[in-house]
């Protein structure tokens, strides 16, 4: 079915000058419903899930047999057999097998970083189109063997005689036989992400009530979006799962308030830095669950999209990545977006209030609330972010309007693609309604003290400047 790929700009003589920046557009996206770990996708591999997300994208946009500029994505929890995960997924898809691909990994920011990477190549004229995405499974996570067993296995594989092999295995102690289950603990501190965030939450005095409210809003918004058919052209079912199964339509503040805290065990009794309460506040209800899933985003130059009668939802304006020193406890593990955003805004001459939508990844409800509180804090913004004063506050009615990770779940590498596709569709709808440009700020925190922020903007058709082939 892929014998005659359409003549694409990649094959045709270049119509754009390499090196001259032009806009990269989000054309659309596709993901599979996100599943709670150990449930519907418990036997699905990263490659199967990413291929399924790609196939849905190909079907939605009629890309069968097309040679795209490239497909970029990755997984955070990755088997060693998945060394070429994205390329293998492309080969298993209906795209032209001549579509290049590579893996990229930046913890929970993988999907957003992939989007930025593909967009940048489009902006530079190096490719005309591409897919960014990510896949993660906690259910099908790789399990490593102990260091002792690993060394014995390696030694045995190098052994030339039976005796040498026996000798190698003789070194294995019973304790070496226990598998090492994958952990999301930070290698440098030994603390889980939740424990890290619990310290930050306490330090900033984020209340349990505020976290539960944000969590409830996430579920309510996501449920409303599903009911309104918002995801009809963003999600393709997989393995019988039709909706995100983490979504709770029967949640309430009372139910959330009844849950026991799961993080912050080290806080008990201790006083936080600023004297606020140090009672643990983070529960399974206001933290993201472990999730399986995959997502993709189709990006293209205006010309490429026009040739195929595909929509231009929003352009990728700019992006900024930051990292913080959480190892020495100076800054919270998930606070890097607080640093990335002001730098991104300054470079683009924008203020925090200049956005129609805010998509702040809900790693934990308190991550969102801490970040917002930090931007409103004069002293923090002066001393930590090097600003003249507080960055400002946002209109909360524009925050995660169709829900986010708390409700949808958070398959690490897949979250960026989910957010970008959702934001771009919302922006395009807003512009279609008002006839004016609309702008979204995206912020995703990640393990390792990393944070990525990006700006998307929809533009009314009449105002598009580099849409040279509109005729």
């Amino acid at each position: 079915m892929r014998k005659s790929p359409r003549q694409t700009p990649e094959q045709a003589p270049a119509t754009s000058t390499p090196g001259a920046p032009r806009d990269a557009w989000v054309v659309g996206g596709n993901r599979i419903p996100f599943a709670r770990a150990g449930k519907k996708y418990s036997s699905a591999s990263n490659q199967e899930m990413f291929t399924a997300a790609l196939e849905g994208l190909v079907a939605r946009f009629g890309l069968q047999g097309e040679r795209l500029g490239e497909v970029v994505g990755g997984a955070v929890l990755k088997h060693s057999r998945d060394f070429n995960l994205v390329r293998e997924s492309v080969l298993g898809s209906s795209l032209s097998p001549e579509t290049p691909a590579y893996d990229l990994q930046q913890a929970c920011a993988t999907g957003l970083e992939a989007t930025i990477t593909v967009a940048n190549k489009i902006r530079l004229g190096q490719v005309e189109s591409g897919v960014a995405g990510g896949s993660d499974t906690v259910s099908d996570a790789p399990i490593a063997v102990s260091e002792g067993l690993r060394r014995a296995l390696l030694e045995a594989s190098h052994a030339k005689t039976f005796g040498q092999r026996v000798k190698a295995f003789a070194k294995v102690r019973p304790s070496d036989l226990a598998p090492l289950t994958p952990a999301t603990d930070e290698p440098r501190t030994g603390l889980s992400m939740g424990e890290h965030q619990a310290i930050t939450t306490a330090r900033w005095g984020i209340t349990r009530e505020a976290q539960d409210e944000l969590a409830l809003a996430s579920h309510e918004h996501l449920a409303a979006a599903w009911d309104a058919g918002f995801f009809d052209d963003l999600v393709t079912p997989f393995r019988g799962l039709v909706r995100d199964d983490n979504l709770r339509t029967d949640s309430s503040l009372e139910k959330l308030a009844a849950l026991k805290p799961v993080y912050g065990k080290r806080l008990a009794g201790a006083a936080a830095g600023d004297g606020s309460s140090a009672e643990p506040t983070m529960t399974a209800g206001n933290s993201t669950p472990l999730t399986d899933g995959a997502s993709t985003v189709l990006l293209a130059s205006a010309e490429w999209a026009r040739e195929r009668d595909l929509p231009l939802l929003a352009r990728v304006v700019d992006a900024e990545t930051a990292a913080v020193d959480f190892v020495h406890g100076h800054e919270g593990l998930l606070m890097a977006p607080a640093h990335a955003v002001p730098r991104l805004l300054a470079r683009n001459g924008l203020a925090l209030g200049d956005f129609d939508l805010y998509e702040i990844h809900e790693a934990f409800a308190s991550t969102v609330l801490t970040t917002l509180k930090a931007w409103e804090d004069d002293e923090y913004c002066r001393t930590e972010l090097g600003l003249d004063g507080a960055l400002g506050s946002i209109d909360r009615s524009r925050l995660n309007v169709n829900g986010s990770s708390l409700a949808a779940g958070h398959p690490f590498a897949a979250t960026g693609g989910r957010i970008v596709a959702t934001a771009a569709k919302l922006l395009a709808a807003k512009t279609a309604e008002t006839g004016a440009p609309a702008r979204a700020l995206i912020s995703v925190c990640a393990a390792g003290g990393l944070g990525v922020a990006a700006i998307l903007e929809s533009v009314p058709a009449a105002d598009r400047t580099d849409d040279t082939t509109a005729a």
Binding site: G56, V58, G62, G229, D232, D233
Partner: protein
């Protein structure tokens, strides 16, 4: 979804056994494969008067142009691939005698999977009683002959309206469909064919027997197929794509995974949509226009079953069936016509059912919805054909027992009975329905409007 009985009685020891026991032996039907000959042998054209240039000669000439071996006189050695009986000239009941008796003499020489096709004039309101008797008589003749045929052979008729010559492109395209393997499960049916819209002249005519127009009659056309994730709908999408159409496959979001597979297989685009949604028509049009420039062919296939005796019928079962099978079709077609959504003359094909024609115990909701489909098909057909109307056609296809996931769920005994009560003694395949739809969507079917074509192997129920 396979009929193992058909396999058993056609192969090996079980074949011998079935023969000895005199069990019914449904034939393995010949189905269309690109490159295969149109018919399984020479074609005999009956009904002409020697030395007189008449309709039989015109039909024979047209068939010759398709590179067929055409004869006008019977012999005792040939196994006929098809017998075409031209009855368009009969004016009195007595006139049928000669051609019908000539057919009688040739029936035993009809090859397995052979074809009998009658070409007659359609009864008209202005016919005299004598003319009406002669023309209407063909109906009973054809349906009875079809029931006599064995070994996968079928009989079908073309009723040409008075405004069209028998060798018009529309008639020949219908004749070609009936002669071909594409009509494998269409049996005992008469289609009324008129001159059709004058602008629809892309029809295959006698002088383009093997041209590209026949291989890809839908090239450049955009087709929308609802309920396309599986079963008949998926096969319709594949068949329209084979015929050259760019296909938008539509199904409910929950069926999206299977829908994406179909779209990727046929290089179409997937649209996840509930056809009962208020804006379903608008979203179909928006997708088809933005991506493919418009819609030429609309196939209303989406349908559901909620069988219950009427005595036990609940409101949700009745309403759901009527909403999906009937109201959604109406609303979408009305929206598209109102919004000038069709880029050329519309080709609308709706899925009816033999249940809608004959009724079926426990299917009052389904039968209501499917009979309703026949009703709106005839009404839309009149609207389209009305002077100043948009032109185009609206037709329905009424499948009988088709081997799908849906019919696989019928209890064994009931399923076996349903399969054997047709002249062809078996169930049809989804592709049989798809071929009929593809024919009605093709340029050559411009003269077929407001018709209900049954694809039922001549099931005993209904006409």
């Amino acid at each position: 979804m396979t009929d193992s009985y058909v396999k058993a009685v056609n192969s090996g020891v079980t074949k011998t056994l079935a023969k000895k026991l005199g069990l019914p032996r449904p034939a393995v039907l010949r189905r269309f494969r690109a490159g295969d000959p149109l018919t399984v042998g020479p074609v005999l054209v009956l009904g002409g008067t020697p030395g007189v240039r008449d309709d039989a000669d015109r039909v024979a000439e047209a068939l010759l142009a398709w590179d067929l071996d055409v004869r006008q006189t019977a012999d005792d050695t040939t196994r006929w691939g098809a017998v075409v009986v031209v009855l368009s000239g009969i004016e009195r009941p007595e006139d049928a005698s000669a051609p019908v008796l000539a057919l009688s003499a040739s029936l035993r020489r009809l090859a397995p999977n052979g074809r009998v096709v009658t070409i007659s004039r359609a009864p008209a309101d202005t016919d005299s009683p004598e003319l009406a008797a002669a023309r209407e008589g063909v109906d009973g003749l054809l349906r009875s002959v079809a029931k006599e045929l064995r070994y996968g052979a079928t009989g079908n008729g073309i009723q040409v309206t008075d405004d069209a010559p028998v060798d018009s492109p529309n008639v020949l395209a219908t004749l070609r469909f009936f002669l071909s393997a594409k009509s494998a499960f269409v049996d005992g049916q008469l289609l009324r064919v008129g001159a059709g819209a004058p602008s629809d002249q892309g029809a295959p005519s006698g002088d383009q027997g093997s041209g590209a127009g026949l291989d890809q009659p839908l090239a450049g056309k955009v087709a929308v197929v609802t309920g396309a994730a599986r079963g008949i709908g998926a096969q319709v999408a594949r068949t329209l794509a084979r015929d050259g159409a760019k296909v938008v496959v539509v199904d409910v979001p929950a069926a999206g995974e299977a829908l994406a597979k179909v779209a990727n297989e046929i290089k179409g685009t997937a649209l996840q949509l509930d056809v009962t949604a208020d804006d379903a028509g608008a979203r179909i049009l928006e997708h088809a226009r933005a991506r493919h420039g418009g819609i030429d062919v609309l196939v209303h296939n989406a349908g559901i079953l909620r069988d219950k005796l009427l005595a036990n019928m609940s409101a949700d079962k009745w309403d759901a069936v009527v909403a999906v099978n009937l109201a959604a079709q109406l609303r979408i077609t009305e929206y598209l016509l109102g919004a000038n959504g069709f880029s050329s003359e519309p080709r609308i094909v709706s899925l009816a059912s033999t249940s809608g024609i004959a009724g079926n115990r426990g299917q009052s909701n389904y039968a209501f919805s499917k009979a309703g489909v026949i009703g709106h098909t005839r009404a839309f057909a009149r609207l389209l054909a009305a002077p100043g109307g948009p032109g185009g056609t609206a037709n329905a296809v009424a499948p009988g027992f088709i081997e799908t996931d849906m019919t696989a769920s019928i209890p064994f005994v009931q399923r076996e009975v349903a399969r054997r009560v047709a002249s062809l003694q078996q169930g049809g395949q989804p592709v049989d329905v798809a071929e009929a739809i593809a024919f009605l969507a093709s340029p050559g079917a411009a003269g077929v409007n407001g018709q209900v074509l049954r694809v039922c192997g001549q099931n005993v129920v209904g006409r």
